[in-house]
Symmetry: C2
Subunit: 209 residues, 2 copies
């Protein structure tokens, strides 16, 4: 059975996955710029053929993914209706997805095909419907949720996520968007299958019971 997976979601020690005041210059919100340094370093090490706890997690995140789901806040800094449709994501002409990307938004627009096989689709359908479309697009491979925190929460509450990898970053942020919050009974379906520290972060993996 194909799975719904989440990887490399970095949270501060006090649980925040994104900071306040997200905007063009601060895609992850203020104070969060360095939170993903471990991931970029691990990606470089992976490309260079090195191994290690961080590299292993980054490598795993790229395996067998056939479609992607994300929230609008991950797609861009805009809120409310689109001013125009020139914004095509943070990632340039050839985004790193190379598959169908379903963007949750109340503000629909036509699909945007990009170079390298990525196509952004915009949807206001319920999570179950979007996930069914993503599994169909993935054609037997797994589906990955890119983020952000609110989107991951929605799918966790609905019990739809099969595997969630978090990296806990050793800093206090004090405010922002909490990832593991408002989960209600959603948490009952999960157990922590791994908890291991590298010098940079602590990796935690949640799986279904």
């Amino acid at each position: 059975m194909p799975k719904l997976r989440v990887h490399n979601i970095t949270v501060s020690l006090d649980g925040y996955a994104a900071g306040p005041n997200q905007r063009l210059e601060h895609p992850l919100g203020e104070g969060f710029e360095e939170m993903h340094d471990w991931m970029f370093a691990a990606m470089r090490d992976h490309a260079d053929g090195r191994t290690g706890v961080d590299v292993d997690h980054v490598a795993r995140s790229e395996e067998n993914i056939g479609a992607t789901i994300m929230g609008r806040n991950m797609f861009g800094p805009h809120r409310g209706p689109w001013q125009d449709e020139s914004w095509k994501g943070w990632w340039g002409a050839n985004p790193p997805y190379h598959n169908d990307v379903f963007v949750h938004t109340h503000h629909l627009r036509p699909s945007v095909p990009m170079e390298g096989g990525t196509t952004f689709h915009f949807t206001d359908e319920p999570v179950e419907t979007v996930l069914a479309r993503a599994f169909e697009a993935a054609d037997g491979k797994d589906v990955r949720i890119g983020g952000g925190a609110a989107t991951v929460q929605q799918y966790l509450r609905a019990g739809l996520i099969d595997e969630l990898h978090l990296a806990v970053f050793p800093k206090l942020l004090g405010s922002g968007e909490r990832l593991l919050d408002n989960l209600g009974d959603g948490v009952d379906g999960y157990r922590v299958s791994e908890l291991v520290s590298s010098p940079a972060v602590t990796h935690a993996v949640l799986v279904r019971r």
Copy 2:
């Protein structure tokens, strides 16, 4: 300079330090009974002369403490005015503190001397005043805050804690009292000096910048 220290505060992966519905049968609230298993195991190992990450943290927590501060919820399950004064804490006739213990409460009562050098004092004074009294009682040694979450938060917000050791327990609780919450600008004064996992928990140590 003597320090204000906090040790062995166990939080779930989603940040809760105590569960809902604390009462006599569930001193830490529902679902939290097993959270401290790592600590009791480490205490036994320490007594048996074994070493390890968990044992090292538990051993450190006992060094050079001259007085203790705690919230009323840690002292007992009662809320509101005392029904009588027969309750003398969870710990029996000879509590494991062996020093002066200052209990924050709005409901004052006379000090309670116990066997083994522990005396419980009840105070509704501000944190700065209570801390000054505790340092005086500690007579050059450090002061330790026992808990719970609300009391640790108050001292963190006020920037009074010098060292805070957390153990992150690999389970989701979904509700309860969050430790690292409502800290406001209090977080700015702290950095994470250690983040290391044992097979049981991840230890994080916060110190002043």
